[in-house]
């Protein structure tokens, strides 16, 4: 590997178009000519209305979907299959309902061939880090939505991903829990230093978390505009939204979206 590859962007989409073929044989364009770059350790948020192809963007980066045109590169190399350096947090609960908390968190290391005892020990550590100590033996249905989300975060972070993709992870939570989880996420992210793509339809959430916000429009999804968020870190979510710079940026994006 040369120096350029190491210092290049973590994720680079250039001129990406993605088409679906529907069962009745028609072709549907979900994304058109998307160009996006995420630097190492950068936190990027993607905002847009429902159905604008935000989730498809993430599928392209994970390798679960392939672009119809253009290129998707992760860490300087084209995406080929599922990359071990990627972590993904889903919108809905994707924790395994038949595994208890400890076994859910240990899933990644176990799948990747760690010995059971070692994986469970590591899992115990992560369960504590997300504040679920004492719940190791609980099954997901015995936990609240916020606690299940913590399990999902621990499950993803235990693999120490260099790239973290999040698909509206907190949209199903109540406002209070959501703010707690956002703070939790920023804490975990700052200790891990991963590059993040955070998809959301909540503009305030995007601004309060990210370094940069991509705004997509729908039908088919295209990048409408990009905003730099100059807010200082570390941020406290419940306070950052009252900063004048936050309010100003939020107003600018809203007025752009209205056009």
């Amino acid at each position: 590997m040369n120096g350029e590859t190491l210092s290049g962007p973590a994720i680079a989409l250039s001129g990406v178009t993605h088409r679906f073929s529907t069962p009745d044989g028609r072709s549907l364009t979900a994304l058109r000519d998307i160009t996006m770059e995420v630097g190492r350790g950068e936190f990027v948020a993607v905002v847009g209305p429902t159905g604008c192809g935000k989730s498809t963007t993430l599928s392209l980066i994970t390798g679960l979907a392939k672009p119809s045109a253009g290129s998707v590169e992760v860490m300087g190399a084209p995406v080929a299959g599922i990359d071990r350096r990627i972590g993904f947090v889903f919108q809905h609960d994707a924790v395994f309902p038949w595994r208890n908390v400890a076994n859910n968190v240990a899933a990644g290391p176990l799948f990747r061939g760690s010995p059971r005892a070692e994986a469970l020990e590591l899992a115990g550590e992560w369960v504590r880090r997300v504040g679920l100590a004492g719940f190791e033996k609980h099954y997901p249905h015995q936990l609240s939505g916020g606690m299940r989300k913590r399990v999902a975060l621990a499950q993803t972070f235990i693999n120490r991903p260099e790239i973290l993709l999040m698909d509206e992870p907190f949209s199903a939570l109540d406002v209070q829990t959501r703010i707690l989880m956002q703070d939790e996420l920023l804490g975990l992210w700052s200790s891990l230093g991963a590059s993040v793509v955070f998809v959301t339809h909540d503009l305030e959430e995007a601004i309060s978390l990210a370094d940069r916000v991509y705004v997509l429009t729908s039908g088919p999804g295209t990048v409408k505009s990009i905003y730099e968020v100059g807010l200082p870190r570390p941020r406290v979510i419940s306070e950052v939204r009252f900063l004048p710079a936050f309010v100003e940026l939020s107003r600018r994006i809203w007025s752009d979206l209205r056009e």
Partner: protein, 285 residues
């Protein structure tokens, strides 16, 4: 609203809880009473109308005769040996057929559920095979496999296989796509996805089918014995039928019902042990 709840003293709350519990208990006792009353009315009515010759006891028998028949079978044995042996023969045929049919059904369901090409190729044949009344196959099995256990097991297997297969297949197809994607991203190989995501998701479907298919296995074994056998409850029914012994037919039916209920109870226990991660149902009697 909140202050109202707080205003209530602890003893008052306790009294209300106790009252609610007493009410629930009383209702439960009432239900059990009604169940027994229903049984008494049906059996009593049957017995009475048979004794008063309102219905012909030769065709319809009567509860006392049926229980008498069960008793004499249990004590004196049946025409083809002891009652317990007959039960055991039928039960072992049923269990073998059930086990083989369930295992092959689950394996085939997972294989076709996970492989779209195999599913597209074979689904049409399975549909055809499923539309054949499978009991008819019993005659073929008797011809090829003889009067012994094998022909009954074979019939039970084909009865069970399609039910379990259809459910396992559907269960695999319905496995949550996000869960599969999550497992793959966490590092699972296709085999690991099958074992630790797809199989557990399909388990609810599979266990549900086991309840139904045990009954089918029993039907397979009994019909097989009906068609030709040397031992078993099905043969007892055939014999009773041949001698116009209505009480014998009903008595064999009663024995089969008891066997099926006991097995149903065991399967439920097995199911609960297997899917204990599921939330418990809220109300249970």
């Amino acid at each position: 609203m909140k202050s109202k709840i707080r205003d209530e003293s602890a003893p008052a709350l306790e009294a209300r809880d106790a009252a609610a519990m007493a009410k629930a208990k009383a209702r439960k006792r009432f239900v059990i009473f009604l169940r027994i009353a229903f049984l008494v009315v049906i059996l009593g009515g049957w017995e009475l109308s048979a004794r008063l010759k309102a219905i012909d006891p030769f065709f319809f028998s009567m509860p006392s005769q049926i229980f008498g028949q069960v008793w004499s079978w249990a004590v004196e044995g049946t025409a083809q040996g002891s009652l317990w042996e007959q039960i055991w023969v039928t039960l072992s045929e049923t269990l073998m057929g059930f086990f083989i049919g369930a295992v092959t059904g689950i394996l085939a369901g997972i294989l076709l559920g996970r492989n779209a090409l195999l599913a597209d190729v074979f689904s049409v044949y399975i549909k055809i095979a499923n539309s054949v009344p499978r009991v008819v196959l019993g005659s073929i099995f008797i011809i090829t496999l003889g009067l012994g256990t094998a022909s009954k097991v074979a019939l039970a297997v084909v009865m069970v296989f399609f039910v379990v297969f259809a459910n396992a297949f559907q269960g695999v197809r319905e496995a949550d796509r996000d869960l599969i994607a999550n497992a793959r991203i966490l590092g699972a190989s296709p085999r690991q996805v099958t074992v630790s995501v797809v199989l557990p998701s399909a388990l609810t479907w599979i266990t549900a089918s086991l309840h139904v298919s045990f009954g089918f296995a029993l039907v397979g074994a009994v019909v097989g014995e009906f068609l030709g056998a040397r031992k078993g409850i099905g043969l007892m029914i055939a014999t009773a039928q041949g001698t116009f012994n209505a009480a014998g037919v009903f008595a064999a039916m009663l024995i089969l019902a008891v066997v099926a209920l006991v097995m149903e109870y065991l399967i439920t226990g097995f199911e609960n042990a297997l899917v204990k991660w599921r939330p418990a149902p809220l109300a249970d009697s």
